[in-house]
């Protein structure tokens, strides 16, 4: 039972990361391969600040703030490009944080950092906070979609020239959305750090960003909670593919099964 809850928490957290990506892809058509940067940065800031604040909430907020700040800074660079160049620019910044985390002594090195100084959460507290954060994130995304800003984003995506002629700055709209998306990704990262009590440079890897993209794809683009469906699907899929009961020793190679599914899904022309 405790294990099933663990899986649920994982889905809630990864779903939030996927949702933050979904926001950018759905409304603005911007595909980022670097969202792990915000996810990991928030986690690290939480781990670094926890011994000083003693409060999970305060450290988590600091983490989200750091992620937003990083987005505001890097957004200025990456939003100058589109498509492929945008993808690689976002990847570059995530990689930069990975190198910082891995090769410099400031952030604990390749072995990562422990989250010390916070009292460990019991099951009920975990359940409550995870659900609360995920729900808040979902509500925010839903609200944005229906707000005037949501219309602006859609317009920026589909009718860039007209919007500019009306006096709006497409760049401002994109940057705002980018920062919002980053703060949601940061919230997911803070959740991760609290859940595991540990952060490491691999949180910045492109594989993490890639997994989030997979969840977006699997969940579909229909509803604002679709990313969570996608996250749940990936988590359960992992359990299915890694089950020794089903596959025996071959379960070790579950990643190949996941990869094959990704290849098959990506080849289909339904989207």
């Amino acid at each position: 039972m405790a294990y099933a809850l663990d899986l649920l928490f994982q889905a809630l957290e990864m779903g939030l990361l996927a949702a933050s990506l979904w926001l950018l892809i759905q409304h603005l058509g911007l595909v980022s391969l670097g969202h792990a940067a915000f996810y990991g940065l928030a986690g690290y800031v939480l781990a670094l600040s926890a011994p000083h604040t003693g409060s999970a909430l305060a450290s988590a907020l600091l983490g989200v703030l750091a992620a937003s700040g990083f987005a505001a800074l890097t957004g200025w660079f990456v939003l100058r490009s589109r498509g492929l160049a945008f993808l690689m620019a976002t990847l570059a910044f995530a990689q930069m944080l990975l190198v910082l985390g891995q090769d410099t002594p400031y952030f604990g090195g390749s072995d990562g950092l422990y989250v010390d100084g916070l009292s460990p959460l019991n099951i009920e507290e975990k359940a409550l906070s995870m659900t609360a954060v995920a729900a808040a994130g979902a509500a925010l995304i839903w609200r944005i979609g229906r707000s005037p800003f949501g219309f602006l984003m859609a317009a920026a995506h589909q009718h860039e020239d007209r919007l500019t002629s009306l006096g709006y700055s497409v760049f401002q709209i994109q940057l705002t959305a980018y920062v919002l998306s980053a703060s949601l990704a940061g919230a997911a990262g803070a959740m991760h750090a609290l859940r595991f009590g540990f952060v490491s440079p691999s949180l910045f890897s492109w594989q993490v960003s890639g997994m989030a993209l997979l969840m977006v794809l699997l969940g579909g683009q229909t509803y604002f909670f679709s990313p969570w469906l996608g996250a749940l699907a990936v988590v359960l899929l992992h359990e299915l593919l890694a089950s020794h009961a089903l596959w025996g020793d071959w379960a070790r190679h579950w990643a190949a099964g996941l990869g094959l599914i990704m290849i098959i899904l990506a080849r289909r022309k339904t989207r």
Partner: protein
């Protein structure tokens, strides 16, 4: 050792790292430049090349035939991947290409695990080339490093010449600039892209086996290569062989010097440079 010999030695280290980096990135620049396809599987192909090369060298016993066989295998695999996997996603949402090539990476890693296991392997350079040239009383320069250098430059020249002087190469360059005109002239872009992908794959795989004696073969060895190649290609301009070579040399030099002197923050410089280039000249320094 006097400072001249030392400088020479460091210079050779840097040059060799740069050429190696070029070898790795050149396959990617072809694919990105000609097809606009984001190939996250590039590092995985490099890894497969290293492992396949390892087995071929063990089986055949001689390097040259092994490398030739590997080249042929690479061309075949690249052609096959392009036709069956990549082509359906061209023109679609970039998300699909990212996921497709990510899927290929996952499958490739497990394939490696099943066939070659998870141990770290070492590949020694060919007997003929495993000697060293004495540079001082204490240090020898491995002959193999010089061979890599020369081979890399030869491949660079070969690629450049192909792109600029062969009709296939000229058509390929035209494809990245103006596909419609090319089709209006009756040239089938599919053949060009299949060829580009095949060539890119073959170069990546050969780079894998050539680099193998300098490092070790192990799980996830392709990931840092992928990132480094992407950086070099973006900085150097997609599709430009000369740009990729020059950038690779600069990056290789920065990496070597950083390893020796700066240590910690050296790795960052590359990404800062990349961000700047993207901000100011999104098409790359030499595009």
């Amino acid at each position: 050792m006097d400072s001249l010999s030392l400088a020479l030695l460091y210079g050779l280290n840097a040059l060799q790292q740069g050429v190696l980096l070029f070898l790795l990135a050149s396959g990617l620049t072809l694919i990105l430049g000609a097809m606009g396809v984001i190939n996250l599987a590039h590092g995985a192909l490099y890894m497969l090349g290293a492992y396949l090369g390892y087995s071929l060298v063990q089986a055949i016993g001689l390097w040259l035939p092994a490398v030739l066989v590997l080249t042929a295998l690479g061309l075949l695999m690249g052609w096959f991947i392009e036709r069956s996997l990549i082509r359906p996603t061209v023109g679609g949402h970039p998300l699909r290409q990212v996921l497709l090539t990510f899927g290929v990476v996952l499958v490739a890693e497990e394939l490696r695990a099943v066939v070659w296991g998870n141990d770290v392997l070492t590949l020694t350079p060919p007997q003929m080339l495993s000697g060293g040239i004495p540079l001082s009383e204490t240090l020898l320069l491995p002959v193999y490093e010089i061979v890599i250098l020369v081979t890399g430059l030869l491949i660079a020249f070969g690629l450049w010449a192909t792109l600029h002087f062969s009709s296939w190469g000229i058509q390929l360059r035209a494809l990245s600039e103006n596909p419609r005109l090319l089709m209006a002239m009756g040239i089938n872009p599919a053949r060009l892209t299949a060829g580009a992908f095949a060539l890119g794959t073959a170069v990546a795989m050969v780079a894998g086996v050539l680099a193998a004696p300098m490092t070790t073969l192990g799980p996830h060895m392709g990931s840092p290569v992928l990132i480094a190649s992407l950086v070099v290609v973006i900085l150097g301009g997609m599709g430009s062989v000369v740009g990729t070579l020059l950038t690779a040399l600069v990056v290789g030099a920065a990496q070597t010097l950083g390893q020796i002197f700066a240590g910690d923050l050296a790795g960052l410089a590359i990404y800062v440079a990349m961000a700047l280039v993207l901000a100011l000249r999104p098409r790359g320094l030499f595009a």
